[in-house]
């Protein structure tokens, strides 16, 4: 078996092979490190590759297996961590200026849970500076490039995580999602991205963007892989008062229940409008596949859908500025140009507007709840467009960054308002070979149905089996 096959193997299969000693965790880790060395210089998905430390972790797992101890469901599986999540002993950079880096003394709880399950932390992934943007054009660490076309953005802010997964530079990755930062890069890079219900995964040890909108979740190549990582990471932690201990159903069984009896709500107005014709066509085709597999389509309406984005814009702006205020006043020049604009604007929003936006949020959540009565999930395109070009002109980049946020978060950010779970699964490729995602939205804490629908769709299609046209450079 070539190392490339190993690097695209499903997480469950990798872990099973390591647990059964068919191959060692060290062999698996070295295969990924070798591919990272060959491919990452062109993609720039990582801020830090933890080569020696990853090999040490892998050896410990092999020793545990040799001693007859259970290695856990992620035995020897290399996982990449978005670089705003704490990993013991290595800097958390948030892909920001070095002045803002710090080195944590302990893992974030979700990282500790991955390790306890046998996962190997292989590196930290690049992101849009402080996770506040969707282009991943970064003045401090350089841009992440889309593995399907290196001239294009990967989407963001978890662009390094999605690019690493798509390019076979890790088996799975962690992202954060405040307005779509897991689902957008998943759509643009052809990966699976899950934003679980608000509170499902604790945010302790994670650099915040907007406290009431921030979520964490997995980015993987298959829905089954996402379910596996969710199961490992879910659960309350005292460091995040918003986190909850709501029992997950047995996802493995539920995944294979198929689509018969599932009612899919299609909110045509707003969520299917102003969309690139190719994206629209691919998402429509996905609806036909879902129906062919036994689902029923029902029209749903969100009466004030056009106003959702107004509430998101105000809440994220004010909370992000509040989080950064002290640093901004001391070190404004250490932020990239688009971050300066994004963060300074928050000073000028009255408190009354913030409260208005939070009240509107409750109003919109009621409308989503109503739309999900009589439907098990809602389905929309994940983004309006496929990946856009990387803006290479520094003078133009800030304006482009701001405009792309508006364009790319249109269908994802409203779901952060509600806190409901949402999944992006690949639903086809444009004529130019760029991946496109389908968004599946569920009821609070019903990730099971969201993943079930996504898995059934994935099983009916072959999009998740395609690989980006990246070959290691010859020396």
């Amino acid at each position: 078996m070539t190392s490339d096959v190993l690097c695209f193997m499903p997480i469950g299969d990798l872990a099973a092979q390591v647990a059964s000693r068919e191959r060692s965790a060290l062999e698996v880790t070295r295969a990924f490190l070798s591919r990272i060395e060959a491919i990452n210089p062109r993609v720039n998905a990582y801020t830090l590759v933890m080569g020696e430390e990853a090999e040490r972790q892998a050896r410990r797992i092999d020793e545990a297996i040799a001693a007859g101890r259970s290695p856990g469901p992620l035995a020897g599986v290399p996982i990449a961590i978005k670089d705003l999540i704490d990993v013991t002993g290595v800097p958390t950079t948030a892909a920001a200026h070095r002045r803002f880096h710090y080195t944590p003394e302990r893992d974030a709880p979700l990282v500790a849970r991955l390790r306890a399950a046998g996962g190997v932390i292989i590196g930290k992934t690049n992101l849009h500076e402080f996770a506040y943007g969707v282009t991943n054009i970064n003045p401090h660490f350089g841009p992440v490039r889309n593995p399907w076309d290196l001239a294009l953005i990967p989407g963001g802010s978890s662009g390094g995580s999605a690019a690493a997964v798509a390019a076979g530079l890790c088996a799975g990755a962690l992202g954060s999602d405040t307005g779509g930062s897991i689902r957008i890069p998943s759509s643009l890079c052809g990966t699976v991205g899950l934003k679980p219900t608000y509170g499902r995964i604790p945010r302790t040890g994670v650099v915040a963007l907007a406290w009431t909108l921030d979520h964490l979740g997995p980015i993987t190549r298959t829905v089954r892989d996402a379910a596996l990582l969710l199961r490992v990471m879910a659960g309350a932690d005292p460091g995040d008062p918003a986190s909850v201990e709501d029992a997950l159903p047995p996802l493995d069984q539920q995944l294979d229940d198929g689509l018969r009896g599932i009612r899919i709500g299609v909110p045509r107005r707003f969520f299917w409008e102003q969309t690139d014709p190719q994206v629209q066509g691919l998402a429509e085709s996905a609806l036909r596949v879902l129906v062919d597999r036994g689902a029923t389509l029902v029209d749903r309406d969100l009466p004030h859908a056009e106003d959702l984005i107004s509430a998101v814009a105000i809440i994220i702006t004010v909370e992000a500025t509040a989080y950064h205020e002290r640093r901004l006043r001391r070190s404004l020049g250490a932020y990239g140009e688009d971050l300066q604009i994004r963060l300074l604007r928050g000073f000028f929003v009255p408190g009354t507007d913030y409260v208005l936006a939070q009240r509107a949020r409750a109003f919109f959540t009621q409308e989503f709840t109503a739309a999900l009565q009589g439907a098990d999930v809602l389905v929309t395109p994940t983004t309006t467009v496929p990946a856009r070009p990387i803006e290479e002109d520094p003078a133009a980049a800030p304006a482009v960054s701001l405009a792309m946020s508006t364009e790319l978060t249109r269908f994802t950010a409203p779901i952060n308002l509600t806190g409901f779970p949402a999944l992006s699964v690949p639903c086809g490729f444009t004529r130019g070979g760029l991946p496109v995602g389908l968004q599946i939205i569920g009821k609070p804490f019903d990730e099971g149905t969201v993943l079930r629908a996504g898995h059934a769709y994935e099983q009916a299609t072959e999009w998740h089996t395609r690989r980006p046209p990246l070959q290691p450079l010859t020396r």
């Binding site: 106003d307 300074l344 000073f347 507007d353 409750a362």
Partner: protein, 61 residues
Amino acid sequence: MTEPLLTLEDLTHLADLLDLSLSTEQLKQLLPEVQRLRQHAARLRDLPLDPEEPALRFASP
């Protein structure tokens, strides 16, 4: 509801009140963003939010 247009002069005054030392160039870059946020708020003011509805008094997720 139409939001009164914010001018560069207004923004400069607000920045002074907030003790923010910003250049004219920075304020010019900020102006359309601040105006956009004010338009967002104006849209939300048109929603039928009932002040007596308990669920709409204030909500966290």
